[in-house]
Amino acid sequence: MTTAAAPAAKAAKRRTPRGDAPQKWGNPGTYFIALILVAVCISPVLYIILGGFRTNSQITTSPAGLPSPWVISNYVNVLTSSTFWQEFGNSAIVGILTTIGTVILGVMVSFVLARYDFKFKGAIYSLFAAGLMFPMVIAITPLYIVIKDLGLVDNLFGVIIPQIAFSLPTTIIILVPFLKAIPNEIEEAASIDGASRLGFFFRMVVPLSLPGVVTVGILAFVGAWNNYILPLYILNSSATFTLPLGVQAFSSQYSADTAKILAFTSLSMLPALIFFSLFERRIVGGLTGAVKG
């Protein structure tokens, strides 16, 4: 929308080192509020992580205290239990296959929507865009019936395939502008060099769209890793549980052992957190790009 003004804005930024507008704010106040904000955002997470390093008696006598002494037995217990690793493995399978499926299907259909001209293009795009409005919770009851009819209940693919389907709208909305932005000249050059449209797709589009693909891939992975309601419906036996189901099962099974619950919980949020911190710029950039168009 305002991209035309961007270079000018950058030039202006260089000319006047910023900080003139917010002068009246007084910097200490800004830092103070920012500090409070960060503390509020982070302390519940720290509570979960640090709580795993305490004993139950520490937690009972001083619920808000810090670990003293630090104990690692809770984490060791969880890390040596087969339940955790099985659920971790299930979540990893679901996350990775969902990501691969979403990226492959998403790039292909986005390429068509971005660079081909055909009659139903707008309608197909709108169909996917409308999917944004109807999240999984609304469709879950009939979705369960469909999965049951396909015989995929208690099967990880019963989670993976719907997860891919529900990741497609976001993927397409992020990827289509990305693929449109590839200059026509590159396509022409490829065609002069004798590449077909599909050759152009594999040799040029896939590498050039990699940043966008990474964004949608991470979103799909984190979405699949964190999803709760779909596994809740589809996966019934504990052998197929993913981590979110596992966390809930664990916390009702060991409801008296708060420290162990906290250790289990913090270990199960770790992969999504690591993924996010590695690719934070891309996620944030992709989200904002999608909203700004």
Binding site: T2, A8, A12, T16, A21, T30, I33, A34, L37, C41, P44, V45, P63, A64, M108, V109, L113, Y116, K119, G122, Y125, S126, L127, A130, G131, M133, F134, V137, I138, A139, I140, T141, P142, L143, I145, F166, L168, I172, K180, E188, S191, R197, F200, V222, N226, N227, Y228, I229, P244, V247, Q248, L262, M269, A272, L273, V284, L287, T288, V291, G293
Partner: protein, 342 residues
């Protein structure tokens, strides 16, 4: 989104012919395109095949697992059906009558409405304020942005588990209040019906404020700097600039965020289900439509009724989405989420 759905839907005529026409038109407009360079190389059949091969799988998966289930819900909603064998016990609109007259549904509807309005009222101003604050050049800004986004990345199950332990009446939060001398404020945050909804709102705000702030920051950064400079030269104060320049230009971002927030509020499930469970949530006053759907459908083994609840939720979301798009998002539609449709 659905606005374009209406305008873009093309008349389904002779597909072959019209596709050829479109293609010819394109070739005429962009003479430098590869198709013009090698006219009719391998013909239109190949083009159609490519489109079908590339777009087909995604469309099939999407229709089969997103669109079809919603249609199926509309069908099963007319039956009394327990999920086994074909649905034969046709009850007409009976399920819908039961839903609309069930006081329990009225109360979840009320909760969803309250959550929707409170989310907008709490997170909207707060996220704009925080975005304005973080848009300044301060040290560690990018680190702050990462940290406030962390709650958004953690799954609802973990957030729910953590908060339900922390907010127990003998939990860490009350202990913290005692330690800083505010012991008088300690309360039963989760089960007191007067407090539970506000507790839920606090947790929702905590979880989703980072997302709102990131969106607002992106919106702020797309406002050209010259406008601020011009206003400053004209002697406008900081707050005048924010009110007359920032807020209006941030409008599209705010409206898109509000839309996402509304849709999110209508389908809230995980957090409530984890923290309160499907039984306590009713008495604590936090149950939502989705909780009602799962309790009455899946847990009661009454899939026909559950489907009908899904249809009601779908219609409520659809109506709100359409009204919102028709009257509020209309002016943004061209440049916003539907950009790629053009």
């Amino acid at each position: 989104m659905s606005n374009t759905l209406g305008t873009d839907t093309v008349v389904i005529g002779d597909r072959r012919q019209s596709q050829g026409a479109t293609e010819a038109g394109v070739t005429a407009v962009t003479p430098a395109s590869p198709r013009a360079a090698k006219p009719r190389r391998r013909g239109r059949g190949r083009l159609r095949l490519e489109i079908a091969v590339l777009a087909g799988p995604a469309i099939i998966v999407f229709v089969a697992f997103v669109i079809f289930p919603v249609a199926l819900a509309a069908y099963y909603g007319f039956f009394k059906w327990h999920g086994y064998g074909p649905a034969t016990d046709f009850v007409g609109l009976n399920n819908y009558k039961l839903i609309l007259t069930d006081p329990a549904f009225h109360s979840v509807l009320w909760h969803n409405g309250a959550i929707l309005v409170l989310s907008l009222l709490i997170q909207g101003p707060l996220s704009i304020f925080l975005a304005l604050l973080l848009n300044q050049k301060i040290k560690g800004r990018s680190l702050i942005r990462v940290l406030i986004f962390v709650p958004y990345v953690i799954s609802e199950v973990i957030v729910g588990t953590g908060f339900s332990l922390m907010l127990q009446s003998n939990g860490a939060f009350n202990d913290l209040l005692h330690n800083v001398g505010l012991g008088g404020l300690a309360a039963d945050w989760l089960s007191d019906p007067n407090l539970a909804l506000w507790t839920l709102m606090a947790i929702i705000s905590w979880k989703y404020i980072g997302f709102a702030v990131i969106l607002m920051l992106a919106g702020l950064q797309s406002i050209p700097e010259e406008l601020f400079e011009a206003a400053q030269i004209d002697g406008a104060s900081y707050w005048q600039i924010q009110r007359s320049i920032t807020l209006p230009l941030l409008g599209p971002t705010i409206r898109i965020w509000a839309f996402l927030s509304i849709i999110g509020s209508l389908q809230l499930f995980d957090l409530v289900y984890i923290i309160w469970g499907q039984f306590v949530s009713g008495t604590a006053g936090t149950s939502t439509m989705a909780i009602y759907m799962v309790a009455q459908g899946r847990d009661a083994g009454n899939y026909g009724y559950g489907s009908a609840v899904a249809v009601v939720m779908f219609l409520i979301s659809l109506i709100i989405a359409l009204i919102y798009q028709r009257f509020i998002l209309r002016r943004d539609l061209q440049g916003a989420v539907t950009e790629g449709a053009k």
